[in-house]
């Protein structure tokens, strides 16, 4: 139909009255000029994959933390002034305690929904840190940290560090016996720092431990300083995500040059927005049904008391493990003391591990010499060395974490704590190496398996018996889409054009740095399996066709003798060879 009028109306056309929401949008745009921004982003495309949801869990837990945290600040009093408790919890009534602890009891027993909010807040903190870690692993294992996203990796790592500190400052606030013991240990950590340690401790605590300043100071850090930085970094993290556009898995029609998925409005607005309610709902259920940090059982902080089996929150477990298995070494010389047994595992080691984490993208890019942009994700198997490095780091983390529960392992499994500790001292060094080797080999085997399926098809489960009585399983070619997806990855040879090597990755005499780099690059790629070439694929398909021709006469024809298997009409049948 053309656009000409199809009636001979006599009335002049009237401009349609704008809708109310349209008028509001115009009002806002006239002042903010959001049209340009909205045009680009309202229908922005996001690719879909279950693993992209992990970061969302972290984001929404953070929002839940903000909401429940504000609720808690309305009643919590960050003060170490001694008061006599006279609230609802009878077991502690009449006991002297800090106002911080008393107000935490008040939130738990005298403010309706207070205990719920406290428990949601604590669960959300645990989930926040856990989700960040799992998200970090996803990003690393799929190579999503590569150019141009290295800075977002750095921001993400900082978020993890700050989230952990935020958790520690948070669970220290109630000033109960358990968290007070944690603060006391933190005081010991600080004092182990050479030269400035004692001063740092006196300045943070406003004098000698415990003093009356630490809870208010931690409170400011917990509700203002760290959340402020977290918010800013999360905003930067999200802006960069939008600017770079999300990575996607390779597949038919999904390339380095495009992004395929569903539009922000309406699909992701509904899915991601809905997911916020799912996360919040799940956390609310946890807060209602699962007790966490029942501070009323621990009692108020008393520097002369301790509970058996004192354990920090789980994300603080791994440095605590390092602290437990470190041999007791201390140096005293020239009138000063360096407690290596504390300084190394709790100050140096976490700093070192965090630096390694932060540097991973840059180390890999330096070794591989890869300067291209990457928007397609890699399967972990297709980067065996990268995958194995993270598996080694995870093993180190896991062993340290287990060492942090050595007393629990000992009592639950009836083992000697001494033997567990001695074992862990070795395991944290040997374990990661073994894990690295196994993971790398495993990846390479999986790469081989992919090539097998590409070249010879997948196992169909159909058993063929040939004329000589031999049995073979029929392999069928992969569907085209699947085969394409398997081959949609880089050949590693593309990388081997580093200075210091010739095109084949062989080391040329050159500068020392280039040589180290070339050797590392060779080590990085050495055993990787490359995808088949076009010629190899054609050769394999040709072979498969021959096999097919060979098998064709057998299709639907039973081998000789099978005509008498009792399931066929035997009338007029005889053995063919007779």
């Amino acid at each position: 139909m053309t656009a000409t009028a199809n009636t001979n109306g006599t009335k002049a056309a009237k401009v349609k009255k704008p809708s109310k929401s349209g008028a509001a949008a115009t009002w806002a745009d006239d002042r903010l000029g959001l049209g340009g921004l909205a045009k680009k982003n309202l229908r922005k495309v996001f690719p879909d994959h279950w693993s992209f949801m992990l970061g969302e869990v972290a984001l929404w837990s953070f929002v839940v933390l903000l909401l429940t945290g504000v609720f808690l600040t309305l009643w919590f009093r960050p003060s170490m002034v001694e008061v006599m408790y006279d609230g609802s919890y009878t077991q502690l009534r009449g006991i002297e305690m800090s106002e911080a602890y008393a107000s935490t009891l008040n939130i738990s027993f005298d403010v309706r929904a207070g205990l719920l909010m406290r428990q949601i807040h604590h669960w959300a903190a645990s989930i926040f840190v856990a989700a960040m870690m799992v998200h970090l692993l996803r990003v690393y294992f799929t190579g999503a940290f590569r150019k141009p996203r290295e800075l977002n990796w750095v921001i993400g790592s900082l978020l993890l560090l700050l989230g952990t500190l935020e958790g520690f400052t948070g669970y220290s606030l109630p000033d109960d016996l358990l968290s007070g013991t944690g603060i006391r240990a933190a005081d010991g950590f600080m004092k182990s720092i050479p030269v400035i340690g004692t001063y740092a401790s006196f300045f943070l605590f406003g004098g000698e431990f415990p003093g009356d300043s630490i809870i208010p100071r931690l409170y400011t850090i917990h509700v203002l300083l760290i959340p402020g930085i977290l918010l800013a970094l999360i905003a930067a993290h999200m802006l960069l995500l939008v600017y770079h556009k999300h990575t996607q898995w390779p597949g038919p029609g999904r390339t380095e040059k495009n992004v395929v998925g569903f539009p922000m409005l309406p699909v992701y607005a509904a899915k991601a927005g809905g997911f916020f309610f799912v996360v919040f709902g799940a956390l609310a259920l946890m807060g209602g049904l699962m007790a966490i940090n029942p501070v009323w059982r621990y009692g108020p902080y008393n520097p002369a008391e301790v509970t058996a089996g004192s354990q920090p929150d789980w994300y603080m477990g791994w440095p605590d493990g390092a602290l437990r298995i470190m041999p007791g070494i201390e140096s005293s010389f020239w009138g000063v003391t360096i407690p290596w047994n504390v300084f190394l595992p709790i100050i140096v080691l976490p700093g070192l591990m965090f630096t390694i984490l932060l540097m991973l993208p840059f180390i890999e890019a330096w070794i591989t010499g890869d300067k291209r942009e990457h928007h397609l994700l890699e399967r972990p198997r297709n980067a065996p060395t990268r995958t194995a490095i993270m598996v080694a780091l995870m093993t180190f983390y896991g062993l340290m974490w287990a060492a942090g529960g050595n007393d629990i392992i000992a009592t639950e499994l009836h083992l000697s704590i001494n033997q567990i500790t001695y074992f862990m001292r070795g395991a944290v060094f040997i374990g990661p190496v073994i894990a690295f080797l196994i993971a790398r080999r495993w990846c390479i085997s999986l790469q081989r398996h992919d090539n097998e399926t590409l070249l010879h098809g997948y196992e169909s489960g159909v058993i063929m018996r040939d004329a000589l009585g031999g049995y073979t399983e029929k392999h069928l070619p992969l569907p085209l889409e699947r085969a394409y997806t398997l081959t949609a990855r880089d050949r590693d040879e593309q990388q081997l054009s580093l200075p210091g090597t010739d095109g084949n990755g062989v080391v040329k005499p050159g500068s020392r740095k280039d040589q180290v780099r070339a050797k590392l690059s060779d080590w990085w790629y050495r055993n990787n399996v490359q995808k088949p070439t076009r010629a190899e694929l054609e050769e394999a398909h040709h072979h498969a066709e021959l096999e097919h021709v060979h098998d064709a006469p057998l299709e639907g024809h039973a081998a000789d003798g099978h005509q008498f298997d009792g399931r066929h009409d035997v009338h007029g049948e005889e053995l063919r060879s007779h």
Partner: protein, 344 residues
């Protein structure tokens, strides 16, 4: 160019990209009754959510909270009811929205093109030119005197930022080297402040002790130590008193007379990171720290026999006073608690 390299360039795609697969319609796209069913599902989820929100309000006003969190599932009826109703109200909104997106919103995949993260050469050149023009007009390159004095002034501003934090706390001085213990101060039970006679203690017994001054009052009837001061002194002054078979004890040189009839007194503060130590193994005379499992042999001068601690537990020299109660004969002879730089 090598063979391999050439291969990499020409053969990046051994199988040609078959392109995006055709869109397959969902049941809700083609079957009107399925569409209506999905619509009702979503609306029902939102509707039930509202009911749970109302139930939350009902639970808030009807259920008591209070003295006993162990009434219901160890959590209290109010907490359970509020958590479950709020959780389900939220979950149902989320599930409804996701169901809406999956079943009813368009599910045709869209393609957007990517652009390099970096800006175009033109933009780069223009911004560098603008930057240079700005720098040039400021004359910062030509006038090093201004530049350097400004940099110096800004750097100096770092000082107030540090100096102003000076009052965060007092200087350590020798505070970490002393406790309230002194010659003649009674060692008392930490629960009620009652003094201890050697004959009150059995072999193998451990008593948590504190200096008597924590329980004493001044002339006005006010406790001498209370509040923060008490916490600070407790953090250093807490002790444990143990009685062992005198024959089992291997006294360190110069400490032969620090005990009374097999009763020894040690600092309760772990020399590792400062947890109070409390797990006592009667038979072996071992004292285990519950935080990081440092183990001390109290029969052998508080020596570390296992774990991450590096130094022996400081021992408090003891005697009995004229009334026969246990007293300290001096302060600790070394700092108690975790090691620090100035400890020497």
């Amino acid at each position: 160019m090598s063979d391999k390299h050439e291969l990499a360039l020409t053969e990046s795609d051994p199988i040609a990209d078959p392109g995006l697969p055709a869109h397959l319609p969902r049941p809700t796209d083609v079957d009107e009754s399925a569409e209506i069913r999905a619509e009702r599902q979503v609306a029902a989820l939102f509707g039930i959510s509202t009911i749970f929100t109302l139930l939350f309000c009902v639970a808030y006003f009807t259920l008591d909270i209070g003295d006993n969190p162990t009434v219901f599932l160890g959590l209290g009826a109010s907490n359970v009811a509020l958590g479950v109703t709020l959780g389900l109200a939220l979950l149902l909104i989320g599930i409804g929205a996701i169901q809406w997106a999956r079943k009813l919103m368009a599910d045709t995949e869209m393609v957007e093109l990517r652009h390099p993260a970096g800006s175009s050469e033109e933009d780069k050149a223009e911004s560098i030119a603008a930057l240079n023009a700005g720098v040039e007009e400021s004359g910062i390159g030509r006038r090093p005197l201004i530049r350097n004095s400004l940099l110096g002034a800004m750097a100096a501003l770092g000082l107030p930022a540090i100096v102003a934090l000076r009052d965060l706390g007092p200087l350590p001085g020798d505070k970490l080297f002393h406790t309230v213990w002194k010659k003649g101060m009674r060692v008392v039970q930490d629960v009620d402040g009652s003094p201890i006679k050697p004959e009150d203690m059995e072999i193998g017994q451990l008593v948590n002790g504190e200096p008597a001054v924590f329980f004493e009052e001044d002339a006005n009837g006010e406790p001498i130590y209370h509040g923060v001061e008490l916490q600070v002194e407790k953090a250093k002054g807490a002790v444990i008193i143990v009685r062992m078979q005198p024959d089992d004890i291997k006294p360190m040189k110069g400490r032969e007379n620090w005990g009374v009839e097999g009763i020894l007194c040690f600092s309760k503060i772990c020399t590792h990171v400062g947890c109070p130590i409390s797990l006592w193994e009667q038979q072996t005379h071992h004292l285990l720290c519950p935080c990081h499992q440092s183990t001390f042999d109290l029969a052998d001068g508080g020596r570390v026999i296992f774990g991450p601690a590096a130094r022996s537990l400081p021992q408090l020299p003891m005697a009995v006073d004229s009334e026969g109660y246990l007293v300290a004969t001096s302060d600790f002879t070394e700092p108690v608690g975790p090691s620090f730089w100035e400890r020497g």
